[in-house]
Amino acid sequence: MSSTTPRPTASRPTVSGAPLLEIKNLQVGFQTQNGMVQAVRGASLTLRAGETLAIVGESGSGKSTTAHAVINLLPGSGQVTGGEILFEGRDLTKLSQKEMEEVRGKLIGFVPQDPMSNLNPVWSIGFQVEEAIKANGIATGRSDIKKHAIAVLKEAGLGDAEKRLRQFPHQFSGGMRQRVLIGMGLSSRPKLLIADEPTSALDVTVQRTILDNLEKLTREIGTALLFITHDLGLAAERAENLVVMYKGQVVESGPSKEILQNPLHPYTQRLVAAAPSLASRRIQSSSKSLVDLDYSAPRTAEGLDLIKAAEDRAELQAAAPKRESAIVLQNLTKVYRIRGSKDDFKAVDNVSFEIERGTTMALVGESGSGKSTVAKMLLRLEDATEGKILINGTDTAPLKGKALLDLRRRMQPVFQDPYGSLDPLRNIGNTISEPLTTHNIGDKASRRARVLELLDQVSLPSTLATRYPNELSGGQRQRVAIARALALKPDIVILDEAVSALDVLVQAQILQLLTDLQTELNLTYLFITHDLAVVRVIADNVSVMQRGKIVEKATTDEVFDNPQMEYTKELLNAIPGAGIALGV
């Protein structure tokens, strides 16, 4: 298992002493109907006391499985089939259930990925924190435990912990819940904290404050941090050392900056090239004419070069004459009535913008900013309370029946979740041809031909037409969703967080695909996202939304190079990798 690329410079002179956690040649398998499937195949890593180590990899790389194996919480039929996990010299794989309970929580804390599903909805926050404190013998006696719980929550960033102790998880926002989980994980001052994608479900600005707080806390307490993430930029920013995992194996490990600047393994090279957070940094530095040798990252031969795509786009954009507007939004407002409350909720407040034909407008904002509501109104899935929507010069509000059907034909959506947006009972061919059937276009044979043509356009093999969604990967499913959107030859495609759920490499491919399709078919995109990092590589213009209003509207370059509003600056700073780009 020596596929790890050796790094001659990987010695670390700063930290010495015995390792806190040492994973040696770990093997983890899952029992399935077709026998044992190996999820981790000989992974090794070392973490010293007080140090931060990040495991980076895409979904299915075995990074979370490795972390779960440490505290023996593998899901379902998973089991360690070989290797050692030494924690302070003790092999954790050989501990009994009882001994393991002593280690969990007390010596090794855990912060899970999704704050929405990791707190029990039927117990109060206080109850769940106090229970952890009691179980680990941190405090005894009712009032003592309560005092401790409040202290723990306060240091995790919950200022009004006393008041909120008796509240339930559903009364907390995602960020607040993640703070609770971090507080819980650190409540007994463990020697090691495992954080499994602790912020991937949160908005970028929230992510930043939470990670800052986590970093500060672990440093103060002296807890070592095993940080699991799919985002290379984030990992490099937050951890001294990186371990890159691919298909259950560690392919590269060493100091973060070295790996970022000089990735040795081909997989790591692809990761570095595809990470949007890093790519947008690179573009930014080059457009500021700062010669940034650190990020002269390898331009891969796989057509995934996001920088080049962005540069080409900028050139094309500059050369093109002013075009007519495909979409015009005039003073669009959407008000929702809240039941049992006199105050109405303004989800969208006086939003106006135009998108020229053949260009991409990115609508950026955090969750709850109203960006998806704009998309829904545009698609006529919701009616606007006030304001006008003009598509190719036609007001869409009065359209009915056939005219509405025609509008829908020219305007197609692609949604975020590639798992939820495909009907599991229909095969791919049927899924793609469904819009054709609905709009009564062509006969059976021509529809079949169109499906094959579309599959080819989104670079999927034609054999996929008879397969079902559960046989496809996330990236393939999103390609199918795009193919379905293109089936009716629309001129406008609304992409609502269309790449947010995908791994970086897949994300890069889809972005590339979208760019190619736009050039080829002269499509107009409205690209809705919370992630500014991907905006740089796809959009010509950016509108930033906050609390229903557009706070900043400019070309992509202007927004990135010279943001006007405080909020936009905050969003830009929150792109992971910001700290390191200029630091080296």
Binding site: K98, K106, S117, P121, A135, F168, G185
Partner: protein
């Protein structure tokens, strides 16, 4: 909270009027003349028939009959059965019997069902789980009268452990066998429901988080798995209690239990308008109340659906 309960109770009023009207109409529309039927094979005396018709307002048009009946209800008079007993007395006599039977059955199926279902769920795929699933499937597939007759024959006739029919005043020990029969089917449903719910909850993220906090199985199973798993089970239990309360006609018939179901059945056969309508109305009201109780119980189990206003 009080406002919510009041609103729900007010909603019961149109339901009450609607059901009484509907039931009254259906009884009215039943084929056959109930008064003639009273005489059996004897030739009816026209004078007596006419007198009876007048006494029960059967000579009036339908809508007048209904209004007379409703007027009586608002004065606390639920009408009189053909045997001359006030319907309210029949209700007072039969309802406690059914209530007792329902409570015994509910207790048995709840305790046994949740316990067995939980163990099966926690030991998914093991022998206990498989056996439980097989037995519950058999219980569900059997019609209730088969179970009732077999139980009556085996335990009542052959083994002599219990009386085959319920005696005067329906003592508790006589009700146990019919209660077991009633509980058996629901028991199978509860076992399956609890089992799948426990399996689902066990794989949820917050259970893993609970383990990662250092908690042991002994705390996690009751606190984090069972409570969350009970929500669907409670829904089932509540509707089942409603069903039991309105009387299990078949089982009560087989064991000759003097309960609501049995009495209602007899009344329908005889076409006794006031008795049928009063019984069904009371049943509908009980159903509404049980449903309200369930919705309030949800709030206790799951804070997410606690009613704010």
């Amino acid at each position: 909270m009080a406002g919510y309960i009041l609103r729900r109770l007010l909603q019961a009023i149109p339901v009450f009027i609607g059901t009484t009207f509907l039931i009254y109409f259906m009884v009215f529309a039943l084929p056959g003349d109930p008064i003639i039927a009273l005489f059996g094979d004897k030739t009816p005396n026209p004078a007596i028939v006419a007198q009876l018709r007048q006494q029960y307002h059967l000579d009036q048009p339908f809508i007048v009959q209904y209004l007379i009946y409703m007027g009586g209800i608002f004065q606390g008079n639920f009408g009189v059965s053909f045997s001359g007993q006030p319907v309210i007395e029949i209700l007072a006599r039969t309802f406690p019997v059914t209530l007792r039977l329902a409570v015994i059955a509910l207790l048995m199926e709840t305790i046994a069902g949740i316990l067995v279902g939980m163990v099966a769920g926690l030991r998914k795929g093991k022998l206990f789980d498989g056996t439980t699933l097989a037995i519950s499937l058999i219980l569900i597939s059997l019609p209730v009268f088969v179970i009732a007759f077999v139980a009556q024959f085996v335990f009542g006739v052959q083994l002599g452990w219990a009386r085959t029919t319920v005696g005067d005043g329906a003592p508790i020990q006589d009700l146990i066998l019919p209660a077991i029969v009633l509980a058996s089917i629901s028991f199978a449903q509860i076992v399956r429901l609890t089992r799948s719910s426990v399996i689902e909850t066990s794989s949820l993220d917050f259970v893993r988080t609970a383990y990662s906090k250092g908690l042991g199985r002994r705390r996690i199973i009751p606190v984090h798995i069972l409570r969350n798993s009970l929500i669907p089970v409670v829904t089932y239990l509540a509707t089942d209690f409603g069903v039991l309360l309105v009387g299990a006609t078949v089982t009560e018939g087989i064991f000759n239990v003097p309960g609501v179901g049995n009495t209602l059945y007899q009344a329908i056969i005889r076409g006794e308008g006031p008795t049928v309508v009063s019984f069904v109305t009371v049943m509908v009201l009980i159903y509404l109340l049980v449903n309200l109780a369930v919705d309030l119980l949800y709030g206790l189990l799951d804070p997410r659906i606690r009613y704010v206003k």
